[in-house]
Amino acid sequence: MTSPSDDSAARPLRAAVVAGGALAAAAGVAAVLPRADPRAGLFWLLGLGVGVVLQRSRLCFASAFRDLFLFGHGRIMRAVLAGLAVATVGFAVLMSRMVPQPALGGVAPEAHAIPLGVHVVVGGLLFGVGMVVAGGCASGSLYRIGEGYIASVVALVGILVGLAAGAHTWNAWWRASIGRGVVVWLPLLGGYGAAVAATLALLAAGYLSVVWWETRRGVAVPEAPRPVLGRTFRARVAGALDVTLVRGWPAVVGGVALGAFNVLLYVAHMPLGVTGELSRWSMGLMTLVGWSPGALHGTDRLAACALVAPGGPLVTHTLTLNVGIVAGSMAAALAAGEFRVRWPRQARRYVQALGGGVLMGYGATLAMGCTLGAFFSAIPSLALNGWVFAAALAAGAWLGVQVIKRIP
């Protein structure tokens, strides 16, 4: 790799111009957002940040699980575990301020702690199969839409259909499992210190298991070396822009940044999650076509990304968060020269995206969240359901790998 000359500086500088223009446009949108939801502007900006992080580091939760089984490496899973550790510490500080004495105050507000039961396991299995078959999870589909992937638009439609099917069978699941489940929030068992220590120890054990698994499956290779910066001021600035805006970030940088964004979102209101908002779209569309599922038991009392009833203002902070993820990814892809409208060339890829999406939507209904809400926000919430979902997700991803191995 050569050091950037004046010639190779042109590309990063052009990327900086695109990024600057995108920031100005983002600020303009924030200024005209309706004032009905005062958090809409803040969540729009945080969503943009999450979209940039996901796009730049290609932090795909589907590949985090899938690649362990398919290729025997855990580059992205190690990054996810690092991000979970960051979020765990941040969430614990925040939750201990909101509920200083868990034994007296109960579960911290907005923590992603949901009743345990067979629905979490079934939800994780379905979501795991779906994300591998579709080639991306819910947040993955959002950021890929921003990069121009048509298949991800199809997957998102599938997710909305799956959420609709989930809503129509919700009350049966409520009676059979969800309504009978018990919320296990670790600080209620042994205080924050023990809960954080146990969570970090489990994350460390997970990290070691991934390294052991990689070693067993072959020699793990370090990440590719980054280009050397030049000596002149212009070359050094160009080099810094190059590693930030043009080249993909090391996965672990993305994982840690996503963990930090999750803490910021919780400080602002609630942990990171996208399916609650997607369910609002799904329910709203069902109401429009006269196929409303009717009253759903318990959803107003459940945390995480439980189904959200339609109604209320159209522009909310959860909408701006989701749209922000798409827009942030699009801005990052445009700056890097990676944006391109991509149509799958084989018809079966559309079927995979739609079918995988439906499985994800139904699974996310039962587990009250996707890889973000039910996993990346649930484990740092010090909730046992996050670990149960993670185990089911891994098993589902393994099943999904068996499926895609048979689809050429």
């Binding site: 398919l70 080639g135 298949a151 290779v221 590719a224 892809a333 020269g337 391109r340 084989q346």
Partner: protein, 77 residues
Amino acid sequence: MKLDVRGEICPYPMSKAVDALGTLPEGEALEVLTDHPPALETIPFYVVRLGYRCVVEEDGPGQWRIRITRADSSDPS
């Protein structure tokens, strides 16, 4: 040997590249044409483990060529 995996998303660019390496004649290079940015991280990372080296070149907006050769070959690329 050329492999066009444009339009394909993970894991197909990588799994098809690995399959193609299995049928690659001795001394030849494999050129993978892709429009999937994650493949720029996954393919180099993985093929090095299999004893190959590779070079990524841009081939228009949002499109790349990944040239893969055996690590012990004399091909300078």
